[in-house]
Symmetry: D2
Amino acid sequence: MHDIALIGAGRIGKIHAANLAANPRLRLTRVVDPFPDAAAAIAAHYDARVSTIEEALADPAIAGVVVASSTDTHLPYSLAAAEAGKAIFCEKPLDQDLAAARESAARFAALKARLFLAFNRRFDPNFAALQARLAGGAVGTLETLHIISHDPAPPPVDYVKISGGIFKDMVIHDFDMARWLLGEDVTEIFASASVLVDPAIGEAGDADTAKTILRTASGRLCVISSSRRSGYGYDQRIEAFGSKGMIRAQNQLETTVETWGENGAAADRFQNFFLDRYAVAYAREAEHFADILDGKTTPLVDFRDGVAALALAEAAARSARTGERVLL
Amino acid sequence: MHDIALIGAGRIGKIHAANLAANPRLRLTRVVDPFPDAAAAIAAHYDARVSTIEEALADPAIAGVVVASSTDTHLPYSLAAAEAGKAIFCEKPLDQDLAAARESAARFAALKARLFLAFNRRFDPNFAALQARLAGGAVGTLETLHIISHDPAPPPVDYVKISGGIFKDMVIHDFDMARWLLGEDVTEIFASASVLVDPAIGEAGDADTAKTILRTASGRLCVISSSRRSGYGYDQRIEAFGSKGMIRAQNQLETTVETWGENGAAADRFQNFFLDRYAVAYAREAEHFADILDGKTTPLVDFRDGVAALALAEAAARSARTGERVLL
Amino acid sequence: MHDIALIGAGRIGKIHAANLAANPRLRLTRVVDPFPDAAAAIAAHYDARVSTIEEALADPAIAGVVVASSTDTHLPYSLAAAEAGKAIFCEKPLDQDLAAARESAARFAALKARLFLAFNRRFDPNFAALQARLAGGAVGTLETLHIISHDPAPPPVDYVKISGGIFKDMVIHDFDMARWLLGEDVTEIFASASVLVDPAIGEAGDADTAKTILRTASGRLCVISSSRRSGYGYDQRIEAFGSKGMIRAQNQLETTVETWGENGAAADRFQNFFLDRYAVAYAREAEHFADILDGKTTPLVDFRDGVAALALAEAAARSARTGERVLL
Amino acid sequence: MHDIALIGAGRIGKIHAANLAANPRLRLTRVVDPFPDAAAAIAAHYDARVSTIEEALADPAIAGVVVASSTDTHLPYSLAAAEAGKAIFCEKPLDQDLAAARESAARFAALKARLFLAFNRRFDPNFAALQARLAGGAVGTLETLHIISHDPAPPPVDYVKISGGIFKDMVIHDFDMARWLLGEDVTEIFASASVLVDPAIGEAGDADTAKTILRTASGRLCVISSSRRSGYGYDQRIEAFGSKGMIRAQNQLETTVETWGENGAAADRFQNFFLDRYAVAYAREAEHFADILDGKTTPLVDFRDGVAALALAEAAARSARTGERVLL
């Protein structure tokens, strides 16, 4: 059993707390949050105690730290945890500032930090199966890739303003997926972004809809389709086109029930809330963290992956702004 | 080119006329119908002439006769055509009276009649592909079979009254499919029938809903599900369960278009009108008749098949009436 | 928190133990099994203690008893638990002997026993959604029902010999589903059963394949398709045909991944192990038991349901043996 | 009945000949081709006569001309037919040279030429249904569009060399679809193209794989995915994302047959040959031409559409070559 401290008692912190508690190899013992009530609620529920960050990092019993606090604290808290010799489970993104993230790289490397950057989609059973089969040659050599990631509904404009923009906040998931699946470095990127969903998002200086093309050195191509509001639910799909076929992951439905009427057959709703859609992925993240703590594996997604995804997000945002392809 | 006479200028006669005309090996030259206007309309359209049956059968140029007249005339007209040495393309069913059909058997046999009994489902590309793969061992040895055949809407009660009952009029298609796919003689039958769709059908002495179990000597089992009104369109499906898997034919949709909304994905309507659903099957029937006339093949469905299906229909009706299994 | 005793530390007992432990309203405190090692393993894992039945029933802290022992003990242990005033969560079937079950009815009734008979399919999210929508009128008035329940592979013949036969051991699940969905008492039953999978099952006096037709007073019809070995995985489907459409629950797939090759698109495997397929159902059973213990609800499936399903199983077995319809 | 002359007796010419012959409003009377044997074969089959272009255009009985000859003759033959006052059914593309096409525009306009440019996809029942529902508001306001068009196998390299390149030869279909569905002019285009299928295509100066982004003035975005060889068949799909949902057209399968085995369910092959996949579309083109000849409608796709698609193809090719977005 590894003792774990959780930093951040908000919505995503609660998810991680539940998965830590359910994992027989992990024990949540400390909860940190600027809002004492939020921390106290989780601590009480899981028999942990409310702490300051300093207390948590100073506790020699703590083996790992889950950083689920606000985005601007991901990097400093992760670094502090690394300095204290703790393994780190850090929510995405690493940071909104690529330069800052790059500056920290040497320090994390020097500390040989065990930092797991929790891009949940890599742990989704569907996408993980797709990746495994693709890597296993099920459709020959990968040529091109389509990633569709449309949210059911846009976040509040106040969130949009501090989000870092659609590419860093939302598409960053897909940049990580693209890197994972393409198996090669991205060398060029072009993005076209629009305000089609809500003018207020445009007034906030952001876009709500985008199509992005990534290109690798060998000429592999990846298209990412992004929307803050789909109109039909949470659309999370991948199609990987290879020399011998295509492999794809479809949306997850709430049930297998179909209704047949005069107008044809209707399937059930998509799983629309991201916490439902990725519930298994979050539990598998906790399991992966336990494996890291056990020394069984190294992080599937690490600091460099976080920096690389951020670099793509920044390049895409630049391309969308300038109308020019960006070389990486 | 084989000259063909069409007997019967009603709805199904028109379909056969169009397919005869479209087939480069067949030429519709004579049309017979008690209603001269109906015959004249088809004859004019396809450059044929209106005839009496006697004229058509006496014409040495006529190679084949399509019997698409009312059910009670199928047997006498087919027999007359056989006596005249013509090949016969006879609409289902052979007759409503099993005893009458059986009595004619010797005469048809003595004449070595080339009688093709046109059960359209055998010529449907989906069911034909299913049969071919099943026979080719795609799912090992056949064990059991499910046939679903639900009409979109019930016929008028006046038709029901002269239809011969649900088993002889409608389920007879499925008895033929069952015989074709089971590959063994049916030895037992049990049917349970209800009036659930329209009380007037019950008052007419018929049922509108039925489930039937067929059993062969080796213990293979077949379930047939029948309804005069589905509430969701024309449901024509088969599932064949074998020792190594299952093969099934699904419903045909009007297009491949899907609409995704908040409640999930909806496929397009089923092809609901039997003339649309089985359009290709009817064209293939004409092609098969041309093959028979060319001497390339013998009828895929012949007189004995027609008698056998009728025998099953009569047995099923008896079982439904008495509540007892009928041995064949 | 309700203290629970588990009787039976075998495969299904382990499942229930895990779900009891995961449920925040339940606490597994005692484990009973004739094999002390099996009981000890579970007890150690969940911080419970190994007990005799007498100890467990005598413990006033125990609020509920989970009976997951061998089938022949379901009835006596449930009765003993009822005498001790405990709520009961009893695995299916109630018993193999209909007469014995009926004899106990008065005693259970006199004790006002809170007995929950755990037919897992009622708690499957897919079947539960189907039932709710059907009951809500999504497809009008129910007319007929198809239940397909084919196992991936047959059990060992030694198990078959003591199983009570395919109808009491396996199809009993479907009899319960039929009763739940039909919404009316079954008045007639006809079954045809074969040995197609393994001759050894026939030599053991049982069948491995069956088709059964149930009929209600108003003429609703239900077909159940049963096989001990499908050849293609665990096939668990229901189609409910109503006056305004059809609603069905399809098989659950392991992932949403599809592979497209030259021969078309292939979906992923079915969830084939019943403990995977019904994992959520088992967790929901524990939740339902907690609701019963809290007094929030009465058992969704109770003693009378268990007797009724057993009566159908016995009637079906008789029909298959005699070839005659059985009236109930 | 309108008399029609066919220019071009190759593969696509044969298709059009068959559809002209099958259409009750059209009559194929003249066939023109530099290879007399090819022309003679079609003429003999449909009771037409072999002609020179001059003869065909001079024949006052000829109402329309189908131009299905080699691409470099589309424009001059169409112009000659227009000068002769004939209605024109011209195969795609209009020409490989945008400047040449633009130069002819004034002449075609002055002649008030009735030119129908036969982009077959617009007549596919699936895509046509998608367009009609989209235009009818089935998914609200269109925001973005995905068009996938992957061929089963690449053409011979000798064809590639004279094809005009992947954008003018193949993607031009999708540019026309995009224009049709977007409902707004395209103002920007970016394409990235690769040689992933066959190095010989690269040596011939062409690409075999491409992803293209189109953008309209209001910010609507369209992605086109192109491949000369899919590895899994003929992939022809469209997804249209609107403010209230998504509507898509899926691939057409050869039959509705599915095979279920241990690894899950497999659907049937895609319709892989374009003449099969678009058989109905070709017949509907002939029907549309008959409507034009009857004066019932104007061409759904006309000269300007042909020029516009060619302009997009040329811009896409330039973008792929330079790596820069092209403004239109």
